[in-house]
């Protein structure tokens, strides 16, 4: 019962929404009702009137009735018993039977007027121009700045002592901030994966440095996981001393190379 009443309630609510939505809807562009198709038939079937013959617009159409901005439509008409025929919208005098290509930039009503002496006939056709404003791009699936860019901009490298893999005090505060950056990225893009790179300075042996870089990356990962970053979003890789950021042989450069670096996974 409770379910039913809730369903009913939601139906009523939905209906109300639709009504109110209808009420709010932007006014539809004015479109002249096309002439009934029977009209020309009727005209042709009618016996010719006695002189002076009455002016008669046999047909006046616009094709297509609806265009995109920049596209064209073709007006086509046929008028009987008149030589004084004109189109408005600055199109001027026209022949009794003819076509005219038009390029309305907005929804426009064209009126054809045919005169003969005191009699006249008019007919109008409206060409609807859609989307006078270009549509927005498709809705992005994530934030407009890519997660990789956010990571590169906001996440800091964490530095290590020589031959050590412990996270130092400065590393703890760096990684606390990095964890916030990662969580922010993951809240927008839960599928994003980060690879933690472990690097070493050039002094250790190639073999031990690769192991040390591996251990540094794992130490960073363990710390981030402790701070609540989901483990399955973090991968690790060691570059040992293969990818130094500088090559000077002094402690300042060595320190810059003994690092954990966060990068988007490929």
């Amino acid at each position: 019962m409770r379910n039913l009443s809730r369903t009913l309630g939601s139906v009523v609510f939905a209906a109300a929404l639709m009504i109110s939505a209808a009420g709010c809807k932007k006014k539809a562009p004015i479109v002249n009702t096309p002439p009934p198709t029977s009209a020309p038939a009727r005209t042709t079937n009618e016996p010719p009137p006695s002189a002076p013959l009455a002016v008669r617009i046999n047909s006046f159409t616009g094709e297509p009735r609806s265009i995109e901005r920049g596209q064209s439509a073709t007006l086509r008409w046929s008028v009987g018993n008149s030589t004084d025929i004109s189109l408005d919208q600055n199109l001027g005098a026209v022949a009794a039977n003819g076509t005219r290509q038009v390029f309305p930039s907005q929804t426009t009503t064209y009126t054809l007027t045919a005169r003969s002496g005191a009699t006249q006939d008019t007919r109008s056709v409206t060409i609807e121009v859609n989307s006078s404003v270009p549509p927005p791009p498709p809705r992005p699936t994530g934030p407009t700045v890519s997660p990789g860019e956010i990571l590169g901009r906001d996440a800091q490298d964490v530095y290590f002592d020589y031959d050590k893999n412990d996270i130092r005090a400065d590393g703890r505060s760096t990684l606390t901030k990095d964890a916030d950056v990662i969580k922010r990225i993951l809240s927008a893009d839960p599928g994003f994966t980060i690879v933690i790179e472990g690097h070493c300075d050039e002094r250790g042996s190639e073999e031990y440095n690769l192991a040390l870089g591996d251990r540094r990356a794992i130490a960073v990962k363990e710390f981030l996981v402790q701070l609540g970053v989901p483990e399955d979003r973090l991968k690790t890789i060691s570059f040992g001393k293969e990818r130094p950021v500088c090559t000077d042989q002094d402690e300042a450069c060595y320190q810059r190379n003994r690092r954990g670096h966060l990068a988007p996974a490929q």
């Binding site: 050039e202 042996s205 990356a217």
Partner: protein, 465 residues
């Protein structure tokens, strides 16, 4: 026929470079090795068209013998004027009545004789001689080795042998190397001719595995992974080589056939880093270091990566397992389990763990001498971190020798199959690229093998290809 004194000289060679670890005298007094046996080598001449290739032949023969490190080569300026080409050329001197009564009998020279060589100014112990000729369109070498200290030709004659090669420079090199190998065998030495060195070079734009002949010739690119490939190792039969490569999922071991160059199946465990592959001397197993529970640990599998066994269980980094080629049981490895990385030893089942180095400095790249008793490694003891030098040690006595003394970094020593040479890499002070050198086990006779790009991690294949 083998010469006993040579074994003694080899021991002297090792002992010469050694002093006791406990004395803490790095760079201290090194005992001079006793003199090696002296060797004279005549310039061989060739009959007819063979003469064209004699420069190549003589250079090759001389270098092979000299570079063995087992011989002291006697300079040709000291040789007698009469040069023998075959044993028949030796004519013993005879005695004749003195010209004056009361004098001792005269010695009459009848041609070249052994004492011309054993006596001053040549003063050699051994003489290599012979000649070449063309036979059936091929190069024929008659080679002889004499111990000129003997009283007669029969007892002096150690080698008298025929060698055949093509009638060109390659043929001349071939017969010279074969002859040199036979001579060196008399001195208990193994010739390095025909052996290969595998190494890492970035000269193609990426670190790839390369190979070259023992003397640096014939350098060839063996892999083309276009990422980073390093840590080469060669199987005991010389038919496979292993290394590791950076792949999309991490560092993985690859095994390739030497003959075809193609990849052979090896199943890597799923982890971030696998490095320092090593073929066990039994030809059945692969050892390596892999990330297990957050630390690189020494592991062992079958040759195809199956039946994984973890040998170490510590919260420390451990790399570079190297199995004793003689006992096939002792495993040297580098471990940080006592702090900074040191050289350790364990049995292949993971037991009997023992630290080899004393805790000072950083240690890397252990290598076994083929005799299973001497080892070599890189150590920063006595130097700044990163300033590695090459040390050798007698594992039983812990006697230690230092073979290099700075001039940049000296790393990755690897014993040659002859047990008398080492190959290693040197990075000059302030240099950015390393080059590969060979030297004798006393640090002498350093020869540069590479020049192009950065060349590292040499390993010497035991097999003759």
């Amino acid at each position: 026929m083998k010469i006993k004194l040579i074994l003694a000289s080899l021991t002297a060679l090792a002992a010469g470079a050694i002093f006791v670890l406990g004395q803490d005298k790095i760079g201290g007094e090194i005992i001079k090795p006793k003199g090696n046996p002296k060797m004279a080598v005549i310039d061989f001449r060739g009959g007819g068209d063979a003469q064209k290739f004699m420069t190549t032949f003589n250079t090759t023969l001389w270098d092979e013998l000299k570079n063995s490190g087992a011989l002291e080569m006697v300079g040709k300026a000291f040789y007698p004027l009469e040069i023998p080409q075959q044993p028949q050329d030796f004519k013993p001197p005879t005695t004749a009545a003195p010209l004056r009564r009361g004098d001792p009998p005269r010695v009459v020279k009848n041609g070249p004789w052994l004492t011309d060589w054993s006596g001053p100014p040549t003063n050699t112990n051994f003489l290599t001689f012979g000649y070449t000729a063309v036979q059936d369109g091929r190069l024929l070498l008659r080679g002889f080795l004499f111990n000129v200290g003997q009283p007669d030709v029969t007892s002096a004659n150690l080698i008298g042998k025929l060698y055949v090669g093509s009638l060109d420079d390659d043929g001349a090199k071939k017969v010279a190397r074969e002859f040199a190998a036979d001579i060196l065998q008399q001195f208990g030495m193994k010739s390095l001719s025909g052996t290969k060195i595998y190494f890492v070079s970035d000269r193609s734009g990426n670190k790839e595995i390369w190979s070259m002949d023992y003397d640096g010739s014939n350098q060839k690119q063996m892999t083309n992974y276009k990422t980073i490939s390093k840590d080469p190792a060669v199987s005991p039969d010389g038919k496979m080589f292993a290394f590791h490569t950076l792949t999309k999922t991490g560092w993985q071991i690859m095994v390739h056939s030497v003959e075809t160059g193609k990849k052979l199946p090896f199943y890597n465990m799923v982890t971030s880093t696998i490095e320092t592959p090593e073929f066990a001397p039994d030809g059945q197993h692969m050892l390596f270091s892999a990330t297990v529970d957050g630390w690189l640990q020494i592991c062992m599998t079958d040759l195809n990566g199956g039946n994984l066994v973890r040998l170490s269980h510590v919260h420390a980094l451990e790399v570079s397992p190297k199995v004793n080629p003689k006992t096939k049981r002792d495993v040297l490895f580098i471990s940080g389990r006592s702090g900074i990385e040191q050289l350790w030893k364990m049995s292949i089942d993971g037991g009997e763990v023992e630290r080899i180095t004393n805790g000072e400095g950083y240690v890397a790249n252990p290598s076994w001498n083929p005799n299973g008793q001497m080892i070599a490694f890189a150590w920063t003891r006595g130097f700044e971190p990163g300033a590695y030098n090459i040390f050798v040690m007698n594992l039983a006595s812990k006697e230690l020798g230092q073979l290099t003394s700075s001039a940049g970094k000296n790393e990755s020593p690897f014993w040659a199959p002859d047990g008398a040479h080492l190959v290693y890499q040197n990075t000059p002070t302030h240099g950015r690229t390393a080059q590969i050198y060979t030297m004798l086990a006393d640090g002498k006779n350093q020869q540069k093998l590479t020049t192009q790009g950065d060349n590292t991690q040499p390993v010497w294949s035991n097999a003759i290809n």
